[in-house]
Amino acid sequence: MDIDEELLELVVGCRAGDQAAWTALVQRFQRLVFAVVCRMGLDEHDAADVFQTVFERLNKHLPTLKDPSRLRAWVVTTAKREALLQRQRARRTVSMTMADDEDSAGTPEWDLADDALRPEQSLSHLQQLDRLRHAIDRLEPRARSLVEMLFCDEDERLPYEDIARQLGMAVGSLGPTRQRVLERLRRSLAA
């Protein structure tokens, strides 16, 4: 079952009143919504409100949803929009610059400068990361362990011999296995 089929199954389950499907759908999108909300510079209280609002909207949106393959984009758009609105509301009530702070010299409090990505790029990049993370989570345990060992930073990466020993595999089979796993993850991004 590919990722979109799984999403479709969850949507169908939710529509049929299956609470487990709704919980799984929340689990499926929680990381993505959290990542979007965190990038918008909200405080914890506002971020929690936006997080909840996004899932309330998703809940209302599901009965009329026709194309689950676009659900991820809808979630991201809604999270971004709700976060912007929350930020607007906060700006009406609280000074969002530190101009009043003697030490700040007027530095904007929102100057997050996360990674200099333009917002749209950043959000589609997030969607890609979320898709990839989900694909990694769905790998069978040994393949996932291999990914975790291979994907860690270079200075922390174990030699092939140690990885093979820990996974109970022959050193010679690590290369082909790695290639198969990477191909599977690559396909998940293209899906």
Binding site: C14, R15, A16, G17, D18, Q19, A21, W22, V26, Q27, Q30, R31, V33, F34, A35, M40, G41, F51, Q52, E56, R57, N59, P63, L65, K66, R70, A73, T77, T78, R81, L84, L85, Q88, P108, E109, W110, D111, A113, A116, L117, R118, P119, Q121, S122, S124, H125, Q127, Q128, L129, D130, L132, R133, I136, V147, F151, C152, L182, L185, L189, A190
Partner: protein
Amino acid sequence: MAPLDSPSDDELMALGRQAMSLPDAPAHWVRRAADIGVPEPERPWKSLVGDLAGAVVNAVSAAVIRQIHAALDFDSWASPASATGMRSMPDRTRHLLFSAKGRDIDVRIIPVAERYAMAGQVLGSDDFGTVELVHRPLPGSDDGESHVSSLDELGEFRFSGLRQGTVSITLRLGNDEVLLPSIDVGERRV
């Protein structure tokens, strides 16, 4: 970083490292969202009654069109670029948010070569609707060029190939006619 369609092994591993480091939302946030519960399943009798009631209401109110003027809630060009806190380079995409009696309308104007594309999304309870865009090369002129588009199932709409000028947008959603304030299309004026 733009999304990669066919990353090399090294790029994929770099993406994988980033993906593995995406944090989970706090557990109590997730629990609270799960507690919202499943959307109420549609029951046949309820659907039938709803359809009949809807038909009666539609018949009675078909001739009554409610006109709503949307309010501008956010304009990315109205904020100093640094205050958005989201980029260090100037962004040529303009982002506007409007609200209109329970609906929110998200509009983005994106420069494409010498022209502009406008993409939007209506967030509300409407399943269907149309969007009429009237483009005027000069503000206030009468000779506008009209384009009509339908909302897709996510409430999204798109117009492309727009020239610099002013656009008026009217959304027809059920018996509501939502009018957006005029929007200037063009380069940012500092």
